[in-house]
């Protein structure tokens, strides 16, 4: 999966909060706004946004997904960078959408949005050129490089910022390249396989007793957190942007 080489990196940005943050994880969306503002951005939130259309895309119902994507392209009109605090929703915009529109007349509209889309960490590091994050966050974390950012600069960007934070230690774990088992509707149509994958991931990630399990994708964290919770051994999960936000608060 590769990304358009020249994406806009202006400081007035549009936030796509994602449906998971809209429904469950308002604290992650808030952290995203605060972190972007700290980085000098003015954050616009187009009110009519809904979802990136990924659920229907992954189910194979591309007409339904395209309907949602057409709505999304109208909501996010213009030339400003579109920032998404989720690897998989960002990948839906810059990779999935052009794929499902390959044979459609409005491919150029979708491609235009794709070329403006940034995953959050990728934008902070490769768009704005931030190399170090201020503040302090004394904790040991296990960082899951969300699968949808394979082949993009996101995983490394998030790690770079996290590792620059005072007091924070990123601990390695086994089978790091493995998926958390979520996979959208895969998690409900293949519940046994999905849960087994997730439990294995948890086993690896918790092997050295980290304080937090961290990722750039709330879907992975919702899955891992939900599994651990149901299994009676809850884990603390954090989106990396929540760490960036907390570090700022401890910066004073």
């Amino acid at each position: 999966m590769t990304h358009s080489p020249s994406r806009p990196n202006g400081r007035t940005v549009q936030l796509m909060a994602t449906c998971l943050c809209d429904a469950f994880f308002d604290d992650v969306a808030k952290a995203t706004v605060e972190v972007l503002e700290h980085a000098g951005c003015e954050v616009e939130f187009p009110e009519n946004q809904t979802c990136c259309g990924q659920p229907a895309f992954n189910c194979g119902d591309w007409p339904a997904s395209r309907e949602v994507m057409r709505h999304t392209t109208r909501v996010f009109e213009g030339d400003k960078p579109v920032i998404v605090p989720s690897g998989s929703c960002a990948a839906m915009l810059f990779h999935g959408a052009p794929l499902e529109f390959e044979k459609e007349k409005d491919l150029p509209t979708v491609q235009k949005l794709a070329n403006r889309t940034w995953e959050l960490a990728d934008f902070l590091v490769n768009g704005l050129g931030i190399e170090k994050w201020p503040g302090r966050f004394p904790a040991r974390i296990a960082f899951h490089r969300a699968c949808h950012t394979r082949g993009t600069g996101s995983g490394e960007a998030a790690l770079k910022l996290l590792q620059s934070i005072d007091g924070l230690e990123v601990i390695p774990f086994g089978e790091a390249e493995q998926c958390c088992g979520f996979g959208g509707t895969f998690s409900v149509s293949f519940p046994h396989v999905s849960s087994s994958m997730g439990c294995l991931k948890l086993e690896h990630m918790t092997a050295s007793n980290p304080d937090f399990i961290v990722s750039g994708d709330m879907s992975c964290l919702m899955h891992l957190g939900g599994l651990a919770d149901r299994g009676g051994q809850p884990v603390k999960t954090l989106h990396f942007v929540q760490i960036l936000q907390s570090a700022l608060h401890r910066h004073g």
Binding site: A23, C51, P55
Partner: protein, 462 residues
């Protein structure tokens, strides 16, 4: 609710088998990663180059296949074509019957599995012995390979020892070295008695007509050392422009498949024995098999024809590691199989249209593929095709209502807020068929729909 077939298989899979498949696959992934990392500073660049080489080859198959045919004939080989699996089987038995051959030895070849060659040869009274150790065990057990490169990844030494005992290869002994020695002794006679050797091909060079075969055990070499007839079954997509491309492809194949720089035996076959070089088979037949490949070439999934059958995508796949190979109900398991098998099924696509769904789309398969096949994209395209053709897909929620909701901002905002009621009811009791499978092993976080939106509004006012 009906269950996905791969899910059902995985759920019922013996824990020991699952763990063996997992640890063996994970070890394969680790070895591949180590050797590529040790040898190359930019292995991904090499994978992309190999992908272009293969994509170029399949997009010029009309030219290269014809050139390969001419080169092979120039070297003295007979060239045959088979449109279907049945045609390919018949082509093999015709050659054998014409020569009065009764016994053949076979080197491991996925295409011979694909066309069910052994069953066919058995039905016309020809003895066909698989000579690769794993494939031989599969054959005597009446089983099917569960991995492209490691066919008996699902069996342990005790299973094998019992099979050997049953087949009269000595008393029960589950020492892997003893098992291997017994196979060595048994195969010797088979090689020497065989009238013909049947192999596949990893590559065919159009320019020179060289047929390339890689193995570790040396069984393909034996199939070409003792018998007098050599028959090679070759998928039409195996053709590459020239020998020079092998420098890239061979270097990636061994490393990706088994973590080796090169497999032990890399063989270049360039026609039958000659008067001054009489050691090899006197007759060489190459059968180019289509079996739906030209239809795949016409489809928007043609990239799958780049595949060089290394098995790296199986090893790395988290679903394969949970489900093992037989879950895929076809010759090619794992991510490559989830794409290739429904396509090879041709008119019966719908019967295997569930396979592309058996993936979390994590993309690890694409990341390790030596020819950079965009497997997740192909899985998605096939899911779309399955949807268009109304293939059954148990457990997949219908998306029409979601699309309406997600295209209507007012409705969406209302749903976000009103769903808060979910926090007040016991979710486990709700008759929602797509929620319950989630809740069985996972909890859901508190519903906080609309919270961020009002926070954002307040912030703007300040």
């Amino acid at each position: 609710m009906a269950e996905q077939k791969v899910e059902l298989f995985a759920r019922r899979l013996d824990r020991g088998v699952q763990q063996a498949v997992h640890s063996n696959s994970a070890a394969g992934t680790e070895k591949r990663y180590t050797v590529l990392g040790t040898d190359y500073s930019a292995p991904d660049d090499l994978r992309r180059l190999a992908g272009q080489i293969r994509q170029h080859a399949i997009e010029h198959l009309d030219t290269y296949l014809e050139q390969a045919e001419q080169s092979l004939k120039r070297q003295g080989a007979h060239v045959h074509y088979a449109v279907t699996a049945e045609d390919a089987c018949r082509a093999v038995s015709d050659i054998l019957q014409k020569a009065g051959a009764k016994k053949v030895v076979k080197s491991k070849s996925m295409i011979s599995e694909e066309i069910h060659l052994n069953d066919h040869l058995g039905s016309v009274g020809i003895e066909s012995v698989e000579t690769d150790l794993g494939e031989y065990i599969i054959q005597i057990d009446g089983d099917h390979p569960s991995h492209i490169v490691k066919p008996i990844i699902h069996k342990n030494r005790r299973d094998i020892a019992k099979s050997f005992e049953r087949e009269g290869l000595g008393d029960y002994n589950d020492d892997p070295e003893t098992i291997t020695r017994r196979a060595r002794v048994f195969m010797r006679d088979k090689y020497l008695q065989a009238d013909a050797g049947i192999t596949g091909a990893n590559f065919v060079s159009a320019e020179t007509g060289r047929l390339v075969l890689v193995t570790n055990e040396g069984n393909s070499r034996f199939c070409l050392a003792a018998p007098k007839i050599h028959i090679a079954l070759v998928g039409i997509e195996k053709v590459i422009p020239s020998d020079a491309e092998l420098a890239v492809l061979l270097n990636l194949l061994g490393r990706s498949a088994t973590g080796q720089q090169l497999t032990v035996y890399t063989e270049f076959i360039n026609g039958p024995a000659r008067t001054d070089r009489p050691s090899g088979p006197q007759e060489m037949h190459v059968i180019f098999v289509d079996n739906e490949r030209s239809q795949i070439l016409a489809s928007d999934c043609r990239e799958i024809l780049r595949c060089i059958r290394c098995g790296a995508c199986l090893n790395v796949c988290p679903v394969y590691r949970q489900a093992s190979g037989h879950a895929y109900r076809s010759v090619y398991p794992g991510p490559v199989g989830a794409v290739l098998s429904p396509l090879l099924a041709g008119k019966n696509f719908k019967q295997l249209a569930d396979l592309p769904k058996a993936s979390s789309l994590c993309g690890a398969c694409n990341e390790v593929c030596p020819v950079d096949i965009p497997i997740p994209d192909l899985l998605l395209k096939l899911r779309n095709r399955g949807h268009e053709e109304h293939a059954p897909s148990p457990g997949t929620p219908p998306m029409g209502a979601f699309a309406k909701l997600a295209s209507s901002p007012m409705l969406w905002r209302f749903a976000m807020k009103s769903n808060k009621v979910m926090n007040l009811v016991p979710l486990e009791k709700l008759p929602l068929p797509y929620l319950q499978p989630w809740l069985k092993t996972r909890t859901l976080p508190e519903w906080r729909g609309g919270e961020f939106r009002s926070w954002m509004k307040d912030r703007r006012k300040k």
